[in-house]
Symmetry: C2
Subunit: 425 residues, 2 copies
């Protein structure tokens, strides 16, 4: 029976039952963490053989004979550029291989644009009275943290299963020259798990910004992170942009953080050759080189992009049962009650759920008191403000399966308790 | 005989002889590079066993049981903080371990101060009509590149064998609130190889800046890079600053770039706990963590600071003969002529020489045409402008000994030729 169709007496009985379940659960004294999209120990163990790839007897030269141990090679070794170029379907000359953090590359890209300007722009972003960014919501909290840090005004754009609402994006981008960028996670979006449709990608690639220094921040964090055989496909935005002469409008980002080691992978910026030349010049003041030894380690470990793609099956083996468990438990425990919406993603790292309006914070609070830390309610919105107090990001990757099951039990109880309490007023 | 004491006829004969030597040398068709302070292949080979320290069977937890492979631990693992704390004579809580590049940490520190401000400062640097930095000259070209990038006005301060001219530093810093920082390489300075005297360090530690957000950028790049048994000693600036309540005024930097692998070492910021807390908060928007696997690799390789210090003898074995060769050849080939000044450093990476005024560019040009690339004349000065066109930075570390000998032969010939040409007018 749907919760909203219950009588007051039925609701009260439901509330009492949920409260009893909650108190029972709380008495177990659990302490579980589902707050971040971290790989589990089992996933980290997959990549341990990578540590054997380079040893004291290894040839430490890249394919061009460059000794990767020394200074230099600011944009990374060619071997690694080719690996990522194949993976992303672009030319190696469009790749800059960075350090261990794509977030850092994104932060730096915003910082450079803010202080010094982008290729083709008439001035640094900071020389405008104000700088604005479009933020498809819900989105990645750390994206919003970067733009907030620079005092950039963030404008919410609704997400749909096909990607951001492109009517809104097109209208705003083409009319307001102070809008300098948009945050996108185009494949298995964080947190909803949606992949932008071909039409959405084409519309992005054909944008006509009012600003001469507008950039799409295309964070392709989950480009090979499939969970199902019938996985999603993302159109190559650079191919589409080329048809409109718009290649300079895009900064794409990717990394091996959720492929090898999150703390010790390699990250890349992918951009037009104009952008790469411009960024390289600015970057030359920032550093002498990133860690080329780790680049070589990754290249030798995977061999090529096909090797890397095949490798992702090992992660899927660990992750898929966890995502299935979450989606199945939501359906089983809450489906009939009709008090929660969610999407069953075919890849990525999250299951995004929507409670009744005004219930998300209370659910997160109940879970925390019951022993399970979730991502904070509202975290997926600029300024941490979910206007509906409805969205919660579930991160099934880190806990082992048995702990995840317990955490989800508490979560479902908390949703029931918070919702019925709200309905009873 | 001193060149300046020669008659015109003697000078002309000297010039003809130098020109003949130069043309002879040029005909050899050499192609050598002495432009950067890069470790040689022999030095890189010293650290190859570090690649065996972590392998697929290793325990990947730090001393606190934290899995170094995953996200998190923004300021680095405690094991690595302790290693550097011991090395620099500070508390581990004063260390942030970063990525592979101390230059990047310095750039980031300037960038954060510029955009967001420093601990205790009333506003971001960029909110002033102008920002100025003191630059002891000659100095490190990449320091000056960072401040130039942010449009910071650079003011030359003369170097002496005891460090920067402290009368000038004190006068400027105490009177001009727009002076926000000073670049220092306090031990085996780049390029002169001078170590700041105890008195100089004490005067730095006792500065009374007019600005409430002034910072000393104390780039201790060569803190353990001794070449002689009777090596230099640098006073601990934090100990001295504590006596004046000035601990917050200092950002110290160090790295293993010239200890293990220049491209794949670890770098640190060392600062007061107030500064560390302030920087950490800003840093949390920039990245999730630096490469903790590489930190663990370094810690396990060295064991502790004493292990690291002892290790530096292996580098000295490679470097000391090169520095001796350079200094001996300068003395032997040019000493009697009295046309070049230099310091024989007891550590670091450079031999800094001073030609007669107006000759440095010509010497570098002659060397280049003869087949040896030197650091550009003027590179060690802000805006690449050496007011005397006199200083040249020699970098003996990279070429093997036999190549270095050839390069130095050409260099000495070029100094003779450029100087006599200048004298003849």
């Amino acid at each position: 029976m749907k919760l909203k169709e219950m009588s007051r007496a039925q609701l009260e009985a439901f509330r009492d039952e949920a409260l009893r379940e909650y108190e029972d659960f709380k008495s177990k004294g659990l302490s579980l963490d589902m707050s971040r999209g971290k790989p589990s120990k089992a996933q980290l163990d997959i990549s341990m053989p990578m540590l054997d790839v380079l040893n004291s007897t290894s040839d430490m030269k890249d394919k061009n004979g460059v000794d990767v141990r020394n200074y230099g090679g600011l944009t990374g070794i060619d071997d690694c550029k080719e690996l990522f170029a194949d993976l992303l379907g672009v030319k190696p000359s469009m790749i800059i291989v960075g350090g261990n953090s794509s977030l850092n590359l994104m932060y730096d890209s915003v910082a450079r644009a803010y202080n010094f300007g982008v290729y083709g722009g008439s001035k640094p972003w900071c020389k405008n009275e104000k700088v604005k960014f479009l933020c498809p919501v819900p989105g990645y909290d750390r994206h919003f943290g970067v733009t907030e840090t620079f005092g950039i005004e963030m404008i919410n754009v609704p997400m749909t299963p096909q990607g951001p609402d492109m009517d809104t994006v097109e209208r705003l981008v083409s009319s307001d020259p102070l809008i300098k960028g948009i945050w996108c996670v185009p494949m298995y979006s964080n947190p909803d798990g949606y992949t932008y449709s071909d039409d959405t990608v084409r519309r992005f690639a054909a944008l006509k910004p009012a600003a001469d220094d507008f950039r799409i921040f295309w964070d392709n964090a989950y480009c090979v992170h499939h969970l199902k055989d019938d996985h999603d496909h993302l159109l190559n935005i650079f191919d589409e942009a080329a048809k409109n002469g718009n290649e300079d409008m895009i900064y794409e980002f990717a990394s091996t953080s959720k492929i090898t080691f999150p703390g010790a992978g390699v990250a890349v910026i992918c951009a037009s050759e104009n952008n790469v030349a411009h960024i390289t010049k600015q970057l030359s003041m920032q550093s002498i080189s990133y860690d080329k030894v780790n680049m070589l380690r990754h290249v030798r470990y995977f061999g090529n992009a096909d090797g890397l793609k095949a490798y992702m099956h090992k992660h899927r083996e660990v992750l898929e049962p966890k995502f299935d468990l979450v989606v199945n438990m939501l359906e089983e425990k809450l489906g009939a009650l009709d008090i929660l919406r969610w999407n069953a993603p075919r890849g990525g790292y999250f299951v995004s759920v929507y409670t009744e309006k005004g219930c998300a914070k209370e659910v997160v609070r109940l879970c925390k008191e019951g022993g399970v830390v979730l991502t904070g309610a509202g975290a997926s919105y600029p300024y941490k403000k979910d206007p509906d107090d409805s969205n919660i990001r579930l991160s099934p990757s880190f806990p082992p399966l048995d702990e995840l099951k317990q955490a989800m039990e508490l979560f479902c109880i908390s949703v029931k308790l918070a919702t019925v309490t709200e309905l009873l007023g």
